[in-house]
Point group: C2
Chain length 701, copies 2
């Protein structure tokens, strides 16, 4: 694979098929770019209607090229692509990049055209990027390949960039150039007919020129493979992604744009979270994070100190840092003692450390020296607002002197200094990212801190429990033979029990006396439900009565319900189910649904309104490790309700975690469940009282 | 007042007291700036140690200046300020700007120094800006005053800018200049010893050069006056504010920075919301909103259409718009019909309207023409990603041609085109704000849409109900005479009832038989509570028992509780309170607390965890209008629980609204309550069942 992609990214000879001399045409600009970047290889323009393009001899077809051709860039009209690709195959070309659009992104006919081209590519053992892409770039001085039609040849750098949208690719390269950010390889992957982002990720894994990977994605072709690759790569090379289609309307646009079904966004978030990929919302954040990663170490924790010569920006920075989940411990007594030796007593000696106006280069140096020694901090943010009386280049030099040997993360803010000012330029040249306003620093730091948290958190283990798989198998087979859509009621509870998930069992009664006898056996209070499948939304119908405390109440209720149901369904045989009532504990919901891209997603949340209105739920992609089960519970906003709210006893979190893992095992064992809903699952301080009360398993049709 | 401030902002003669010739000194730079800006008046440097500064004759003291002096800029050392200000008074100077720092921002001694100066200012009937400020600017060509020591003289524009932090002021002016944003007047107000932001707001109200007002604030001196002024001004001149100190740590920094107690942030949010002031989080947003307001109409609603030549950015824009609460209705059939005449059938004809790559200037013009006619939209966002083959200036010109006569809000995105590119420059010159990435547009549009919502929403009325004020007065007096800290229990319930707020009344019993008799009279089920003031947190002690259904249960419970309390307080006379139990309805909390800056804040939220953990509450500054009471309820995330969740009947919202207004009236009538907690207030579909169950009024000490 690596060798195949080397032919594309490090070719020795390139044919530009469809090159023309017409100014502004894609072919001409691509050829022009290759020449301008001083490509270290041979270039052959191919065009049946020209003898010379850009002073270079042109050939009618690629077959006429006298030398071997590693890579062909194809820009001919869409109807001619198949023919030209066949010629490439005959010629022995190894890789092709099809810039031409009008394929699967445009509907049925385009799809057919794309399939035809792909078949030719496969037949000849070639590899293809595109169609409908922007081209590729390799800035390695040994290669110098700029096979794109854009205006920008990016600076050399250590960032590999994969973009699914050509337009975004160009926009991002332009902006990167303005910001002074360089790339190793850029790949616009278009419709991903053959080579996918996963393939290029694999390539980046072993590319010695690439340390950081940026992606602009609209959808996933093979998320399972992405998960494997990303989890491995991001341990060594940080990955940052802008994935569009976050809202359902956005996803709709994404799907019409790419001709591929975009996954539910909650799955995407879970995927990135589980693989250590940093997701950012905007292209600006993408650059901010990239420049921090490219120039500074990943912070070892989330504790920050702000050092400033101006109060206002210090406060803005503090607001932004705290809002982004970072911590700002106070200065240690030793640090304060040191600082008091040279900082005006009017200063605050707190965090933010406001040295007050008048503080100059020397004060920055000495204060940073002191704060860097303070073990409380993982990252330091020097903020400088240039007053006229202070030489900002001198300040920049002193900041650099102070921090150059530190292994803490340094992100500086030169507020209102102007993007191209002397001080800003100096710091950038010395690998200290500089921001104009402090809010962007906070967001950036939060993102790279979360990456560090992922890097350092235990990987977790998959656990397997002793379960009665055969029991479930038989319930499942029975349901299938009866052509049921779902397994509910007693059968559903039995599935849970077979997997070691404690449940409040059912018992049925068809007379008032029978009901009373069962209730007395179960122990009061009990819950009574009408046992009529037709009455689906039982709560709304009033078909569930809770907290029955005496034999008398049970009998009266039985008769009341019977009267009700007789009116509604006169010919139905009437019976009820009885269940012990769990009076203590917190209602939770454990669920599973299938994401079209990612497969089963496990869901956990608190019951009722927390799930439905507050949307306070957590999702993970199945299968779960023990660490992930733990995280799912702890990441809820309503977690305090489980850990002991208002002096209450905490619930048995270990049992809850184990239950999630047992559900994950059940999902693994039975792929024909397309939805699981254990609702409510009651959790209590007492292990015996952690019980499922109701469950439903929807079956694949 | 206006005249007094005219002397400061439109002086005919200015003295620079403390001007020096030393390069880099604040005095020298200020004088230099005044000269550079070609001030339309006379300038007199004042310095006892120089005869000539910058080729201008200098005077020993301001008293030696031969002409009248309107404005003095004071830059002498802090110890000399009082003396120099006295001389100004003697000279008949009308206004002074004290740039010198070292006053109330630095502690007790500085406070004393500031007070002394203020007394002199008042004695002579002068007005003062500062101390500890950055200076002032008036770009009116008739004035041309740049009395600051910064490096930037801003462009002329129609934005008035007030900043509490000099450093932020300079940073903001620098950045504004880079972005091409102009100001009418800039005032750095420093410690606000005399002239406050409120005074300058009043000045802007009548300033014909100022259409938009920007503020950078760290705290409020007189929030009541701010409320009055802001509410009036923002009907005509939009106001945008960055208020720092949003988090508690930020607020702490703010308070040490300014030597003033910053208000709780929830009060600040309520204040801005109630006065139509747009609050933004970052300085970048401040500029984005300012440039949208300066160049485009405020959108009439929140419906947006995106027109793009590239799919990726269209999706990003859609995500960002939807996440920011904007709507993107589909194109009308008529619009689609028009578009199909000239747009490739490969396009999406949805919203975002992706014209697909290859669309150029002509397509932008025609598509925008069609979409502008579509009555569904209030704002249009053209997004252009410049491919090499299309002339971006031509696109810019065509966009302008299409929209120039429209009264819809147009914010354009030229993705990756570069800040200074031809197309971007053309649009900016023609009053169309251009953003490089679409996410910032979404945020900007959301902010100005919320302003429009405020502008167009009914102002609301204050309502007064017939209440028994004397009854409350007597309860209150009794509590005061008994030196109670709080009114609780029966008395608290009586206060509510006197103000027409229905409550579940208490009855007391000191024997089991008495309790049973009362319970039978109230009707089952009932709630029993231990009536012992020492047991404050009754729920945790187990001193509240709910849902007692029979005489027998009441008696048993009475005896159980008695046993418990005898152990705990053997000498206490034992009694319980009994209350009917409200079995249906939703628990809410209505509260009031006093904000140190804003006075009483009324709070509303759903009970228990919603308030305490989910923080799902709304605050308004007292007094409430009917519209505000309505908004408070509807703005909760958990509002669906009130309006009919899962087919439940909606609660009686009218009664709930009225209850909030009655509480507001109670707050108005009794200023000695410093905290009110009506918890729970049960709301039901049925008016009779909307009842307070418990209440507590904390009294001022």
């Amino acid at each position: 694979m690596k060798k195949e992609l080397d032919a594309i990214f490090k070719p020795k000879s390139v044919a530009i098929i469809g090159a023309t001399g017409r100014k502004g045409s894609i072919g001409r600009e691509t050829l022009h770019n290759i020449l301008l970047a001083e490509f270290n290889g041979k270039v052959f323009p191919v065009n049946p209607n020209a003898q010379v393009i850009h002073s270079i001899k042109a050939y009618s077809t690629v077959l006429d090229v006298p030398d071997a051709v590693d890579l062909a860039i194809i820009i001919v009209p869409k109807e001619k692509v198949a023919e030209v690709v066949t010629q490439c195959g005959e010629k022995g070309v190894k890789g092709i990049v099809v810039i031409t659009a009008g394929f699967s992104e445009t509907g049925k006919e385009g799809e057919k055209r794309e399939k035809e081209v792909l078949n030719i590519v496969r037949e000849y053992g070639m590899r293809m990027i595109g169609p409908n892409c922007f081209g590729i770039v390799n800035t390695d001085p040994k290669v110098n390949l700029n096979a794109t039609f854009g205006k920008t040849y990016p600076k050399q750098g250590r960032i590999g960039f994969i973009t699914q949208s050509g337009a975004m690719g160009e926009a991002i390269m332009n902006t990167a150039k303005e910001l002074g950010i360089g790339f190793s390889v850029v790949a616009s992957i278009g419709n991903k007919a053959d080579i996918s982002s996963n393939d290029i990720l694999e390539y980046f894994k072993n590319d010695p020129n690439t340390d950081i990977i940026l992606l602009y994605l609209e959808n996933f072709g093979n998320p399972k493979r992405f998960t494997q690759i990303a989890r491995e790569i991001s341990r060594k090379k940080p990955m940052v992604v802008v994935k569009s289609g976050r809202t359902s309307l956005g996803a709709k646009a994404a799907s019409s744009h790419t001709g591929a079904l975009a996954g539910l966004d909650v799955g995407v978030d879970a995927l990135f979270e589980q693989t250590g990929v940093m997701r950012v919302d905007t292209v600006e954040e993408l650059f901010n994070v990239a420049s921090a990663l490219a120039n500074q170490p990943v912070p070892k924790g989330n504790k920050v100190c702000v050092v400033t010569n101006a109060g206002g920006p210090g406060i803005l920075a503090t607001d932004a840092l705290i809002n982004n989940g970072l911590e700002m411990p106070t200065l240690s007594p030793a640090t304060i003692k040191t600082l008091k030796k040279f900082i005006s007593s009017e200063a605050s000696f707190s965090n933010p450390m406001d040295m007050v106006a008048g503080a100059g280069a020397k004060e920055f140096k000495l204060t940073l020296d002191a704060v860097l020694k303070d073990k409380r901090y993982d990252a330091i943010i020097p903020i400088f607002v240039p007053p006229v009386t202070i030489d900002q280049l001198e300040v920049a030099k002193n900041i650099y002197e102070a921090v150059k040997k530190s292994n803490k993360t340094i992100l500086a803010c030169f507020m209102g200094a102007g993007y191209g000012s002397e001080g800003v330029s100096f710091l950038k040249e010395h690998n200290i990212p500089v921001f104009i306003f402090p809010e962007a620093i906070a967001k950036t730091l939060a993102t790279i801190s979360s990456y560090n948290k992922w890097l350092t958190s235990p990987k977790g283990k998959y656990r397997t429990f002793k379960v009665d798989r055969d029991k479930v198998k038989s319930i499942f087979n029975k349901a299938k033979s009866e052509k049921l859509d779902a397994i509910v009621g007693e059968d559903a509870i039995e599935i849970l029990q077979a997997y070691g998930i404690r449940s409040a069992g059912y018992q049925y009664a068809s007379t008032a006396n029978e009901a009373a006898a069962i209730a007395t056996k179960l122990g009061y209070p009990v819950v009574m439900k009408i046992n009529t499948p037709q009455i689906l939304h039982k709560t709304e119908f009033g078909a569930v009565v809770v907290d029955l405390r005496t034999e008398k109440e049970v009998k009266t209720t039985f008769n009341d319900l019977k009267k009700k149901i007789v009116k509604f369904k006169p010919n139905e045989k009437f019976s009820v189910s009885l269940q012990e009532m769990i009076t203590e504990g917190v209602e939770t919901v454990i669920g599973m649904s299938i994401d079209p891209s990612f497969g089963p997603l496990v869901m956990f949340g608190l019951g009722g309104i927390y799930v439905e209105i507050m949307k306070d739920v957590s999702f993970k992609i199945h299968p779960l490790t023990d660490v992930q089960a733990r995280d799912m519970i702890r990441s809820l906003k309503s977690y305090p309700l489980l850990s002991g709210f208002r002096g209450a006893k905490p619930v048995d979190l270990k049992t809850l975690e184990e239950t999630l893992l047992r559900v994950s095992q059940l999902i693994h064992d039975f792929e024909d469940f397309i939805e699981i809903d254990i609702n409510p699952f009651i959790v209590s301080p007492n292990k015996e009282n952690c019980k499922a009360v109701d469950a439903r398993f929807i079956l694949k049709k």
